[in-house]
Symmetry: C2
Subunit: 444 residues, 2 copies
Amino acid sequence: MLHLDLSNVSQFLPEGWRVREENGLKKAHEYLMEGTGAGSDYIGWVNLPENYDKKEFARIQKAAAKIRSDSKALVVIGIGGSYLGARAVIETVTSNNYNLVRGDNPAIYFAGNGLSADGLSEVIELVKDVDFSVNVISKSGTTTEPAVAFRIFKALLEERYGKEGARERIYATTDAKRGALKGLADKEGYEEFVVPDDVGGRYSVLTAVGLLPIAVAGIDIDALMTGAREEMERLHKPGMDNPAWQYAAARHALYDSGKKIEILAGYEPSFRFFGEWWKQLFGESEGKENKGLYPASVEFTADLHSMGQYIQQGERLMVETVVRFDKNHTKISIPDDPENVDGLNFLSGKQLSFVAEQALRGVTLAHVDGGVPNILVSVDARDEKSLGELIYFFEYSCGVSGYLLGVNPFDQPGVEAYKNNMYALLGKPGYEKQKAELEKRLGC
Amino acid sequence: MLHLDLSNVSQFLPEGWRVREENGLKKAHEYLMEGTGAGSDYIGWVNLPENYDKKEFARIQKAAAKIRSDSKALVVIGIGGSYLGARAVIETVTSNNYNLVRGDNPAIYFAGNGLSADGLSEVIELVKDVDFSVNVISKSGTTTEPAVAFRIFKALLEERYGKEGARERIYATTDAKRGALKGLADKEGYEEFVVPDDVGGRYSVLTAVGLLPIAVAGIDIDALMTGAREEMERLHKPGMDNPAWQYAAARHALYDSGKKIEILAGYEPSFRFFGEWWKQLFGESEGKENKGLYPASVEFTADLHSMGQYIQQGERLMVETVVRFDKNHTKISIPDDPENVDGLNFLSGKQLSFVAEQALRGVTLAHVDGGVPNILVSVDARDEKSLGELIYFFEYSCGVSGYLLGVNPFDQPGVEAYKNNMYALLGKPGYEKQKAELEKRLGC
């Protein structure tokens, strides 16, 4: 079960900070439960771990089994929330080197999340000689990065397997009713999964968006949903002992006290992309109206030898949130060295996990002493159930936290700015006036 | 040749900002050139691209050739500056998926940079059935993470190849004269390379620390040094047109004006770990005395769909520094779709790199309009020479910038805090009193 430890927070806050957050928390909770807050068209994720479409879930499992039987690789085409959740769960549960250590599981290659020709060429090359399938994930079907990648991989599949064969290998996760990709999928007869209207991209990991690639990697999506559901049941109970209330309150009080950056720290290399998912969740939900903690992430103990100096003694702007997995998959006992060359024989025979645990405790106290408040989130293991708990915990906390901050946690009005400029510079029809203005500024 | 563009900086600064930095820049430059500033025992990197040990360089190339001929994998054991530089260069020049696409080059596995049992077990498993060598990189030989990993891989090699065979496969990069690893290497007869006394870890990528693993990956270290040397020659000339002066001045003026975070943005997935190297360089050099820009990194355009919202509209604390590679390795032309399902036929036949370039320009203007100053660093390509330029450019800029900030850019006093706590909690002899105190605080 997920456990939250705030024992290294209160000393950084004025007395009575919890009490001062209580009304805001009640209101935020109500917004999420009753759908009465800003952005309430996008709170389908709140009850999702219970209310998900069971028939579609079974189809996801069936499709995953088919892909696992007829494909050595799955190309997942999507950007932002359409790939970060799946990549986060796959890597955290298995390895950041999933594709090197996957055994008989299909390789999973993420494409269409950028505009690098070299990045895309690499995936094309990697599937050159293996049977593969494509999961294209896009609500509209018109976002530039995934749309360009899909044009290419669709052509590759049709060339390799013919038009008939290709349509058996394309899985479209898209809008239930409308949009370019929906239209194409209907026409071509691709198997379709739904990006729900009431779940935004950054909250979509427990929909088909995340679940299909996760299941293809051989990960138990039933257990993932169970973990999320159990966490949901806990967090839907109002009260100051609700861990999501506590986390949101601490973040908000610390932000109010002048903190500007929240660093998510893990101690497992496989956790790196969970940090990327978490950064989207909080950054995109709260980073608006010139507000919000800037979300950053680090991998300890590695980054204690890179970012550690700054965290210990740089600007005092940071809050540190650590995610701990209580159990490891494997055990390593530290060998004895009769000559004790490195002076570490006091560790001989000890488990490496024991050393890691003392590191975590020592780091926490060092950073606290350096003026960095520390929040500790513990779960049982790098397994599906714990990941489900973590995902729902951060999602719910983020909703509450966004409301405490006074923003709409479910929109992302700032994402359009670069897109519009890019479309104009690319010469998209209808953007002629903006193009001329931008080119003038660029001195073309 | 590296090009710096500051045209999107001045509008965020009071008039005359360059002039106000000039005296500080002259002084900082002199500190580096004459060795008269704080931390001047650690400025061996300043002339390194010219003054490096040519005989050792030849030995590095020879050792790399031997490893490439007798090993399918190299395990690189080191933490912080002892792995980030090598990983940054290898991935940026080849791919973030180097081990998947390496062809006939040996796999490179980085170990001993953390305390995860699962992470370490994974590398053990990956070399189980292949011939491998080990490059252990540690000035002292007593740092916990690499020392523990070295105990394990040394034992594995000795088990596999016998004591004689193992010593032919262990390469020790360590202190020239003293220390635990130096003593062991002398006794065992390992081939030795030097971590120079006057080059700190974060500045060590162009010493044997970085060069041996880089060369093993099949990367041309001669060209890397050439790029660094050419950049060095440019940057050693004082003057306000010196790009390192300009970058350092802009960072300093922006910091003085209230900016708190510098985000390094790249548009290539392979650039991710260069960002990690850069974060250590700047974070560890400047993050002290409660000062310094917090270094963060993003991968565009992917992260425009995660961190983009915050950058566009969150707290106005950020400076964005973009690294652009003018050329790609590969070309991808966007296919036409007769039915234009996604509405992107206005891009048909266009190069993907053209789209990426318009994205970069559009993003820059969008972020500038959102209140984020933008610094653009361009180099020719993702090749050795350009990487040499980038490395030296950031190193020199960082030295200048640290002096402008009024700190010693070459120490890292804050890194000891966690280590001391960890040693105490682990029961290291001599730490008994501290252990009791810490355990009391932890409520044990």
